[in-house]
């Protein structure tokens, strides 16, 4: 057997390598200025993200390092989301960098950048091991970030919880991966697809193992996506963690989970989607989890009094909606998921940015503290309303089109074959629960606008926090009015995952 070195091409990896180096630069910069750099460190980090984006735009598509690293439409799209999430998270963390962690700016920013690198590796990998490593690189820095307020009990608790539960989920995922490797004899997902397709009949006779593997994988990935019953860490961690970190978790980390899910389940185990593959099928299983997420997330959000917990439950529910699109294995399913995630980036990061600014100013995260904000800070109140309406899926904001595409994809899938009809039920659950959702989203607007007294707080307009809000606002409105260009871009993604012929 002749050994051959895989084809190595560093060019396709250029954005990741650059961002990795830049993360070190940011840490060194802060140390080099004896921690007296002020907000300059933050701007250096933002600059790095922008440069990475530029490099990303000129990076050629293609494969490098054997099958370990692919640069295709899907990875490119999600990398943009990761960079955007990191940008907006860092942009909204200038307030805490000023007051709470002024001596650890470098580490904080460096860790977020490193986590972003992990996400980008994850989005490009097409092989179980590199994928797992990417996932860990994404998560481990965030454990630290969640616990970054060292002398705040809630924050430390959030970090510990996230660590324990995250470790457990990694264990489950790794366990599932090990089964999968044992069964298919490869870690390359495309190869695995072939292997499974040729031997799937024998799989049935192996017995419990493939089924166990599928369940473990779904559980492990369910953690990252915070799908019930693996969601419980989310509200506690969101509440305790610094608000920008919670924002980053809710968007970046969720998008990473989505990519991992698409890579493993759709790229690798697509044949197991159908009912006829029982008991190894994952379609209905994930469908039930998605339905549970929508019901659980939306119902639990209704009674929340803390806006961060409310947004945490809302993000659990949103994950449910996203999974509806993920379950539509047709030419629009994955592109609708990508578009959903893209609009979610703007709406959720924007909302969290306002929460962060409000918390910096007042120290409160209670929804009732927002009462009368419309009089004193109309820009923030109006932006928050727009974000809430977009999250609730009110036209013509971007969130509406996202929900619409996701539902449309599922309905198309359900209509394509008798055996996919359960997707109708899922869409039905989605439609009904989005009514609950409107209740708690509208509650925030009601609190801000329709309370007679004027808020004692006046939020200042300040860079770059307000800019982040503005970016979110523009994104939510612009991509609501013109979803076309993004949708065109996203429509290449299903082909990249082999769902349709390119």
């Amino acid at each position: 057997m002749d050994f051959q070195l895989p084809h190595v091409d560093f060019r396709v990896m250029a954005p990741e390598l650059f961002l990795f180096a830049w993360a070190l630069v940011v840490i060194t910069f802060d140390l080099g200025t004896k921690r007296r750099s002020g907000s300059a460190t933050g701007y250096v980090a933002l600059l790095g993200l922008v440069i990475t984006g530029v490099i990303l735009s000129i990076t050629p598509e293609g494969a490098g390092f054997g099958a370990m690293f692919y640069n295709d439409a899907g990875s490119l799209f999600f990398k943009v989301i990761f960079l955007g999430a990191a940008f907006m998270a860092i942009g909204s963390s200038f307030g805490i960098m000023e007051r709470k962690i002024q001596h650890h700016r470098g580490e904080f920013l460096g860790l977020i950048l490193l986590s972003t690198v992990g996400m980008m590796f994850l989005a490009s990998s097409n092989e179980l091991l590199s994928l797992y490593i990417g996932l860990e690189l994404t998560t481990i820095p965030l454990f630290v970030c969640a616990a970054f307020f060292k002398d705040n009990r809630l924050s430390v608790e959030a970090g510990i919880k996230y660590l324990i539960v995250g470790a457990m989920s990694s264990a489950l995922l790794l366990y599932g991966i090990s089964f999968l490797y044992g069964l298919s004899g490869t870690t390359d997902l495309l190869q695995m697809r072939v292997n499974i397709a040729t031997t799937h009949l024998t799989f049935r006779e192996i017995g419990l193992l493939p089924m166990l593997s599928v369940v473990l994988l779904v559980a492990g990935l369910g953690f990252k996506l915070a799908l019930p019953p693996f969601h419980q860490w989310a509200p506690d961690v969101y509440e305790g963690a610094p608000t920008p970190v919670a924002a980053f978790l809710s968007v970046g980390s969720k998008a990473a989970g989505l990519v991992a899910f698409a890579k493993i389940m759709i790229n690798g185990l697509q044949v197991f989607y159908e009912d006829i593959m029982a008991p190894n099928d994952w379609g209905l299983l994930v469908g039930i989890l998605a339905g549970a997420a929508m019901v659980w997330g939306n119902v639990a959000a209704v009674r929340q009094t803390n806006i961060k917990r409310m947004l945490a439950f809302s993000s659990i529910a949103q994950a449910g909606y996203i999974m509806i699109g993920m379950l539509a294995l047709n030419d629009i399913g994955l592109s609708s998921v990508s578009f959903y995630m893209f609009t979610y980036l703007f709406a959720n990061m924007g909302a969290f940015a306002i929460v962060a600014i409000f918390e910096d100013k007042t120290g409160s995260t209670q929804i009732k503290s927002y009462s009368g904000l419309a009089r004193t800070s109309p820009f923030y109140a109006a932006s928050m309303s727009v974000f809430m309406l977009s999250l609730a899926g009110i036209p013509p904001l971007a969130g509406f089109f996202a929900k619409y595409y996701v539902f449309a994809a599922a309905i198309k899938m359900a209509g394509s074959n008798e055996i996919h009809q359960w997707l109708y039920w899922l869409v039905g659950v989605g439609l009904i629960t989005s009514v609950f959702a409107l209740y708690y989203y509208a509650n925030v607007i009601k609190t801000m606008y329709f309370t007679p007294d004027e808020s004692p707080y006046k939020l200042p307009l300040s860079l770059p926090g307000s800019a982040v809000v503005l970016i979110g606002l523009v994104g939510v409105i612009l991509f609501g009015l013109m979803p076309g260009p993004v949708m065109d871009f996203a429509s290449a993604i299903p082909a990249a995952f082999g769902l349709i012929a390119p």
């Binding site: 919880k161 109309p378 309303s385």
Partner: protein, 694 residues
């Protein structure tokens, strides 16, 4: 850009929403946002115009189906051709000027931001009307335009006359719209589609009988009669001058009233297919034009003179379009200038009439009166206003080489072959020149007749004078795109074949003589005073009174229509009070009993169900909170439990044939056990915590 042309209309809508919901308290910001929106629309319109020019006016259509009802598709879509592009440009240009002008004019108004929100809503409706690609959609925007016009005319609703004028405008135009609806239903019934292209195809292929087509076209023209204030529904427009002056300039000079002309031009295929209907259009246009011009001769309110002038000029356009329909309908190879003349005059008129209104607003702002008999000599006090106003007057009178000269000549040329039309058109042109310069001489020249007002007069702020200057530039130059033999406008906006323009020397010379004669007569009477105005009025007392009272139209309507209706109303009221009330009182008692029963039902059954649903969600939420107890050990346990349930679910799938109810029961029991554990863990945690605190 043309693919995104719908944004031209949506941007002002967004502005309306933003102002109403978010910026109501921030007046400056609201105005700024509104102005920025209309400027954005203007920029996009410019790009669309350039792109359309690049396509040589080739139509471009985008639409999607809204719904299908009885085989008729209802579409939402946009159609962009030369006519649309020009209209977009006209509307956004005048609207931009008016927006900026309003900054100064409405400065101290307590409902400042509301005014701008209405302006934005109006722009949305008007631009939507222009962009529409089918009759159904144009009708919707048509009504929206009517509604916003009502809001804007009655903007100062504390003033009874303003509120009444708003109502009058709304109701009168609704009468025309009633005809429009009938026409619309006929279109749907006979053509089976509302799409312009689809309908015109049906007309061209002769699938609709000519008689039906004639009635249909006439009914659609009813809409135009209402909106464009044509005889016999012209009475609302002069009253509408009660609204703020920027509104008059925007709605009642340049845009909304032009919508009727636009509708006739847009559905020209129908009129070509039905020459009789086209003749009706032409006659109504001429009659309106003559009546309005004659009334304009003797009025004293500066805005009303302009209003009658507008009605008269709109009649001109309508007449030209009607004559075109008639000529081409009779002889498909006829070389008629009508379509070109009507649309071209629509454009130039929008600019100079918008300017005249804004100028009048500036004058009123300075002297606080509408009566031109109290003005005079303002030329020295208000340089920019006077100069631009006089320029616009020269333009409307048709003096070379201003915009009005070129378009009015084409209208005169369009009457070629119809001697009566020709003569009356020239008479109207004479009257136009006369009353415009009567206005100018009385306002800007001579000695001030009211010294007190004169002393307080001053030039308006820049936000008001700059739009005047800009529109002044357009009032001079907008006509140059239509200089004959250059084939600018005529090769861009056309119907069927591009119209081949050429110099009509005879027409030009005659119409210039007529215009100059009108101006000279006004000069002699009102500047030189060599002919006494009072003496003339005395000599022709009956005619003067008749004209001064606007041909007694309002009195006629109130005698023939309004009084009988009121009388009927009073009669019905007495009938009600005597007989019906008795019945009603009896019925009321029953109703009260029934209401009690319903109340009971509502309270205990319906409310119970609603509250119950709310209670369940709320309690469910509470239960979920219990599970979310914060203990990480419990979370891990919960995960394992969940995992086991999943495995059990999968395992059951194949290996054990448990029925669903059983499985659900197991899951529920498992969840119950878990929450018990959760409760215990939580209480133990709490106990431990209190201990440590001690």
């Amino acid at each position: 850009m043309s693919n995104y042309a719908y944004l031209i209309a949506l941007v002002p809508l967004l502005s309306f929403v933003m102002i109403v919901f978010f910026l109501r308290w921030k007046e400056k910001l609201a105005a700024g946002w509104s102005i920025a929106s209309i400027l954005a629309s203007w920029t996009m319109s410019l790009i669309v115009l350039i792109e359309t020019l690049g396509r040589h006016g080739e139509p471009l259509e985008y639409f999607f189906y809204l719904t299908t009802f009885k085989g008729i598709n209802f579409e939402i879509g946009i159609l962009i051709d030369g006519l649309t592009a020009v209209m977009l440009m006209v509307v956004t240009t005048v609207a931009s000027c008016v927006h900026i002008y309003s900054l100064g004019y409405m400065k101290d108004d307590p409902r400042f931001s509301r005014f701008f929100s209405y302006l934005s809503l109006f722009c949305f409706s008007m631009l939507g009307l222009v962009l529409a690609n089918n009759f159904f959609m144009i009708f919707i925007f048509w009504e929206l335009v009517g509604l916003t016009s009502y809001l804007l005319i009655g903007f100062w609703f504390e003033k009874k006359s303003a509120a009444d004028a708003g109502k009058k405008a709304f109701i009168t135009t609704r009468i025309g719209d009633l005809g429009f609806i009938v026409g619309l239903m006929m279109v749907g019934a006979y053509a089976g589609t509302f799409n312009y292209g689809g309908v015109f195809e049906k007309v061209a292929s002769g699938q609709i009988p000519t008689a039906v087509l004639t009635v249909m076209a006439a009914f659609i023209f009813c809409g135009a009669i209402g909106k464009s204030a044509q005889f016999p529904l012209h009475v609302w427009l002069p009253d509408a001058m009660e609204g703020p002056t920027p509104v008059s300039a925007l709605i009642h000079a340049a845009t909304m009233v032009a919508a009727g002309v636009y509708l006739v031009a847009r559905s020209m295929n129908l009129y070509v297919g039905a020459p009789e209907a086209a003749m009706i259009v032409a006659v109504i246009g001429l009659v309106t034009s003559f009546i309005a011009a004659s009334i304009g001769l003797v009025q004293n309110d500066i805005k009303r003179i302009l209003a009658y002038s507008t009605v008269s000029q709109l009649g001109y356009m309508i007449m030209a379009l009607g004559l075109y329909g008639y000529d081409v309908g009779m002889d498909p190879h006829a070389h008629s200038a009508g379509f070109y003349a009507g649309t071209f005059h629509l454009m130039t008129h929008a600019f100079f009439k918008g300017l005249l209104f804004l100028g009048a607003g500036s004058v009123i702002h300075a002297v606080h009166t509408n009566d031109i008999q109290d003005m005079g000599g303002l030329l020295g006090k208000m340089k920019i206003t006077s100069v631009t106003f006089i320029l616009a007057s020269l333009s409307i009178a048709g003096i070379f080489p201003l915009a009005g000269f070129w378009s009015k000549d084409e209208i005169v040329a369009a009457t070629h072959g119809h001697p009566i039309f020709n003569i009356f058109t020239l008479i109207i042109a004479f009257m136009t020149a006369f009353y415009m310069f009567r206005l100018c001489f009385l306002t800007f020249f001579g000695k001030p007749r009211d010294q007190h007002r004169y002393e307080h007069a001053h030039e308006s702020p820049r936000s008001m004078s700059w739009p005047l200057a800009f529109l002044g530039f357009l009032a001079v130059s907008a006509g140059w795109v239509g200089i004959p033999t250059l084939h600018g406008f005529s090769s861009f906006v056309f119907f069927g074949e591009p119209y081949h323009t050429s110099f009509h020397w005879d027409v030009m010379i005659i119409s210039t003589i007529v215009a100059v004669a009108g101006i000279v007569l006004a000069y002699l009477i009102y500047y030189k005073k060599s002919i006494s105005a009072d003496m003339l009025a005395e000599k022709f007392r009956p005619i003067h009174t008749f004209l001064y009272n606007k041909w007694y139209f309002d009195e006629l309507y109130s005698f023939v229509i309004i009084n009988p209706i009121l009388a009927l109303g009073r009669f019905l009221w007495t009938f009600d009070a005597r007989i019906v009330d008795g019945l009603v009182n009896g019925a009321a008692w029953l109703t009260i009993v029934w209401a009690d029963i319903k109340w009971w039902f509502d309270k205990w059954i319906v409310d119970g169900a609603v509250n119950g649903a709310g209670w369940i969600v709320s309690q469910g939420s509470g239960l979920l909170r219990l599970i979310q107890n914060g203990a990480v050990q419990f979370y891990a346990l919960f995960v394992l439990g969940g995992l086991l349930v999943l495995i059990a679910f999968k395992y059951e799938d194949v290996y054990v044939s448990l029925e669903w109810p059983w499985l659900s029961a197991i899951i529920i029991v498992a969840l119950g056990l878990l929450s018990l554990v959760a409760k215990r863990t939580a209480s133990r945690e709490a106990a431990a915590e209190t201990e440590t605190e001690k």
